[in-house]
């Protein structure tokens, strides 16, 4: 946590004071002398160890019934087959053969519950823990993380979205500097990050100063948040252009074989880029895979999507592990809702938010478990229901964020990282 740096913005200062008082009632501060003692007891590392998150978002509503929560032998299953995993007694879909071999790393939550059955609302809720409102925008976990904890890498943005920006996953009411940087095509990386070849550094510098000079009058006329956001953004862009960390965005620096192993598609390459970015201390990288809205032709389409997911995510887990990054990088697999057990007349499945699957791996997640159960059809949660805010609180808690703490928006309304969600500690090792 970065509290120690006293970087609390004015908005939350009053709450900060109230909060500190509460903190002192807890462990409080040891006297300086005690600090030097060797700690014999519980090491703090027994607590979750996530520093970064790679958030794989399955846009459209991933069918839990055809991926992680199969209903073999029932009328609801359709063409999907179950296969064994490397954890005895647990099964996943035959569309996920490679992830099945990494089951020991994954905490599969089959008891997710949401009350948002439309895409936009569901995506918003999943990302922000709040339902969509017309009057305020809520921040996503990535932006909360950077707000509380700062950018680790001073040159790179703290939050990056690859593929598509998701509603509710942005900076919300937090300042623009906590907003995600959106990379459309992972192979193109961060486009236009190098100076035009016919312009020298000095000339470039002069253009920047000239722009600032042209802007001076405009700035004095408009005290406008959007105008200020642009000045800040240009400063960040220039800092980025000059940073050696720019290489983080260049996946063509990776060996060809590794690139193929992730899958030669935007999602696979996006996962590879995510790994590079996290290696360079970007805190939160979201990669989106669309196409899960399988109202028609569910089984073929899930198979196609699952294949892309299976290849990329399993490779990502292996790659992170090999590099010693898995302990501090939490890989999250999320979606807005699941799909109906009933197979409709178009051989598809419709939206069903009352039970679906999300997965945590790495970053202190307790792998090798299937958490929660759905009923016989997979329509409703039967055991250990986890609401969307609880799931997000678990991620936040693993990251060391104070889930209990209230922050006030510029309009004075109170909010928390994951609303009233509570961390589910069984999901953490």
């Amino acid at each position: 946590m970065k509290e120690i740096l006293g970087k609390i913005s004015d908005i939350d200062r009053r709450d900060f004071l109230a909060y500190s008082a509460k903190a002192f009632l807890g462990v409080g501060l040891m006297p300086a002398a005690a600090r030097n003692m060797a700690f014999a007891g519980d090491s703090p590392l027994r607590r979750p160890t996530a520093k970064n998150v790679i958030y794989l978002y399955m846009a459209g509503g991933m069918s839990h019934l055809d991926t992680f929560d199969l209903k073999q032998g029932t009328q609801y299953q359709g063409a999907t087959q179950a296969i064994k995993t490397n954890v005895p007694g647990t099964r996943v879909s035959g569309y996920l053969p490679r992830l099945a071999k990494q089951m020991d790393k994954m905490a599969v939550v089959n008891s997710m519950f949401s009350n948002q059955g439309a895409h936009e609302e569901g995506r918003y809720f999943m990302h922000s823990s709040y339902t969509k409102r017309g009057t305020i925008k809520h921040p996503g976990i990535g932006s909360w993380l950077v707000k509380f904890d700062g950018n680790r890498n001073p040159n790179l943005p703290g939050v990056v979205h690859i593929g598509s920006p998701n509603p509710g996953g942005g900076n919300g009411f937090l300042e623009q500097r906590y907003a995600p940087l959106v990379i459309g095509n992972p192979e193109a990386g961060l486009q236009n990050s190098k100076r035009r070849s016919n312009i020298s550094e000095g000339q470039f510098q002069d253009v920047v100063s000239l722009t600032n000079a042209f802007d001076a009058e405009f700035h004095s006329r408009y005290k406008h948040k959007k105008v200020e956001a642009y000045s800040e953004m240009y400063d960040d862009a220039l800092k980025l252009m000059r940073s050696r960390d720019l290489a983080a965005f260049e996946i063509d620096k990776e060996p060809e074989r590794l690139r193929e192993a992730y899958g030669e598609n935007p999602f696979g390459q996006g996962c590879l880029l995510a790994r590079r970015l996290v290696e360079h201390d970007v805190r939160f990288v979201e990669v989106t895979l669309g196409g899960w809205d399988t109202h028609t032709n569910n089984f073929e389409r899930v198979e196609e999507n699952a294949n892309v997911l299976d290849q990329a995510m399993s490779m990502l887990l292996r790659d992170l592990e090999k590099r010693g990054m898995l302990e501090e990088t939490m890989v999250v697999l999320a979606t807005e809702f699941g799909r109906t057990p009933e197979i409709n007349e178009n051989d598809g499945r419709d939206h069903s938010p009352t039970a679906f699957t999300c997965v945590l791996a790495g970053g202190g997640a307790a792998g090798g478990q299937v958490y929660g159960k759905t009923d016989e059809s997979g329509k409703n949660v039967a055991e250990d229901r986890i609401d969307v805010p609880d799931f997000n609180a678990t991620i936040a808690y693993a990251l060391g964020l104070p889930t209990e703490r209230t922050i006030f928006s510029p309009t004075g309304r109170p909010f928390r990282v994951a609303d009233k969600g509570r961390p589910v500690l069984d999901l953490l090792a």
Binding site: A59, N115, G117, A118, H119, E120, G134, T135, P157, G163, S164, P165, P167, G170, Q176, A179, L181, V182, G184, N185, A188, Q191, N192, S193, R195, R196, F204, D206, V207, L210, T211, A213, F214, D215, E217, F218, H219, Y222, K223, H224, K226, V227, A229, Y230, S231, M233, Y234, A237, L238, L240, M241, D293, H295, T296, E345, N346, D350, H351, N380, T411
Partner: protein, 708 residues
Amino acid sequence: MALRVFSRFSLRIALTFGFGALSVAYAGSSSSKETLKAAKKIDSFIEEALGEQGMEREALVSDETFARRIYLDIVGRIPTYSAVSSFLRDKSASKRGDLIDSLLDSSGYASHFYNYWEDVLRIQSRDRRTIMVSYQDWIKQSLADNKPYDEFVRELISATGYVWDEPAVGYYLRDAGMPLDNMSNTAQVFLGTRMQCAQCHDHPFDSWTQLEYYHMAAYTFGVQSAYGGYRKVPEFMEFQQAARQIRLAEIKASGEDPRNARGGYRGSVAERRAIRDIFEPLGMEVTTSRKPLKLPDDYQYENGKPKQVIGAKTPFGEQAKVTRRDNPQEVYAKWMTSPENPRFTKVIANRLWKKALGVGLIEPVDDMREDTVASHPELMSYLEEVMADSGYDMKQYLRVLFNTRTYQSEAFGESPVPGEPYYFAGPSLRRMTAEQIWDSVLALAIPNIDARLGGDNQLINLRVGEAVLQDQVEKVKSLNGREIYAVIKRVGEMQTKFIEIEQTILSAVNQAETDDEKKELRQKLGEMRREKNKVIETLLAKVTGSEEIDKQEVRDEFDPTKSDYEDLVDRIGKRRAKQMVRYRKNLVRASEMVSPAPAGHFLRQFGESDREIIESSSDEAAIPQALSLLNGNLFSLVQNGESVLSRELKQSRGQKRLDVIFKSFYARAPTEAERNLVAAQIEKYGQYKGQSNVLLALLNSQEFRFIQ
């Protein structure tokens, strides 16, 4: 076929040269009594509310600021140097009104407002199996024709057929396979009412119940639009029957057990693929049926039972009964667009108000609740009156707004606070939309940008795709089941042959000794594969005795670069003209581009919507924008010797050059301070480099991207 080409051609002429007959029918003018009276009345409402707050309206904008603003607001791009200059030179007292009128009648209007509706209606043309270019054209045409808004919506809601015959069906094709979502979107877009939540349970914050939701959904639930679902298409069923008969006859002849002929015709793998390829396009037709809508299995409230069949009933406003003879879609459309519908008029009046002034009287524009009150309730109802009285004439309504003193005030200096009322001392300061920035940069670069219609490369490919689908559907429909059976058999045989030939050639390639031999064989392989890919097309043409569709013809018809070439050739010679045309190939206005632009495209970087969610475009700052404007290719376009700006500069000398530059970017002359800044650059870097620095700085400046 000929007819279709003709209709497209006429569309193009129409878009290029503006509209005569139809627009006259709705013509108002800025100097008409009605317009001026309405504008005044609006101003008085605003003034009164400002007075109550102890606020004053901002000063009247200068001609320069007005020109830039009105161009961006009506045609979606900044004015060119020559347009600004002639407006500023104009001494007539009615020149602002005249400019408003002429811009509303220009082709840029349709382009700009199309972008808006593309965002609202989430129109996707890229990566979809249901191609809908005709639908996009239809919306543009409707805007250009100034089709009354209520009629526009009625056509969207009640359309059935194929998209090339009835382009408005694109509205249902967009949500193919999700009729309930489609209905939620309809309520949100046209009635400003969010019913999504009630899809699964009673709405937690509003009064909608799940039952009401189902009642409303029942009107359009029978609308079928599932691409891929060709099994219920009559032509397919006829084919199945024919196939069974033929098979039965074959079996009888061979003495096999006739029970083997039971069930649908399956055929070999190649035949099954052929069946799919032949019939799938027929599933694109939007049809209606009386399919009953039932409550979900887990319906939990006492006012209904699970699986109970639900009839059509409106949640508010007048009741709209569906009798046996009525088409429920039409009843629904009529109810929705009736002036008696309490929300229909309010929503469009408020939407267009927001579009002009930057903030709605009701925010957000599409989430009205029972207890929603407009910031200026009397003004809101007056605006509804103006909208309804004009006969839902969107141009006339906008004309009134643009002629108000409220609109013509200087932009308000502070950011609007969400959740707090906005008093309209002036329009809010807005960042250009992604489309406005793109179109404005192109306006600096490419002559007659508004006339480059037809589409970028991808959109033209989609046009070809749609033409091919139409052609195929028409041919398949003209055949009977037995004929289609024959075609499919033949396709199956030919595919098997092709695979054999393919393998022969491949092994020959492996054995070939010289590179030339290999090259020749590979060429053959390529030819063969092309033939293989269009075997269905070829066969269908043969069987129907008609010609194969000429894709190049379709392509040429819509190529926006053609006129460009003729213009360039005279000035810079054939070779460079060809290069230039290639260079500008996909540089068309945003409305003419595939939707959404690919992730990472300039438009997406600046916040163009991904067309997944209603009005999800964004105007937030993001690092790729700065990188793109500072280092990207777009600048070379402006700097290029053939750009609009460069050509204007070539004709100017000395101080006038500065005038050209500043009026091109900002629609105003440079200030003294700015002149000095420019002079310093030129002194340090020389004329060319110095000027280039200035252009790059202006492109990156705040005043360029904001609309004052």
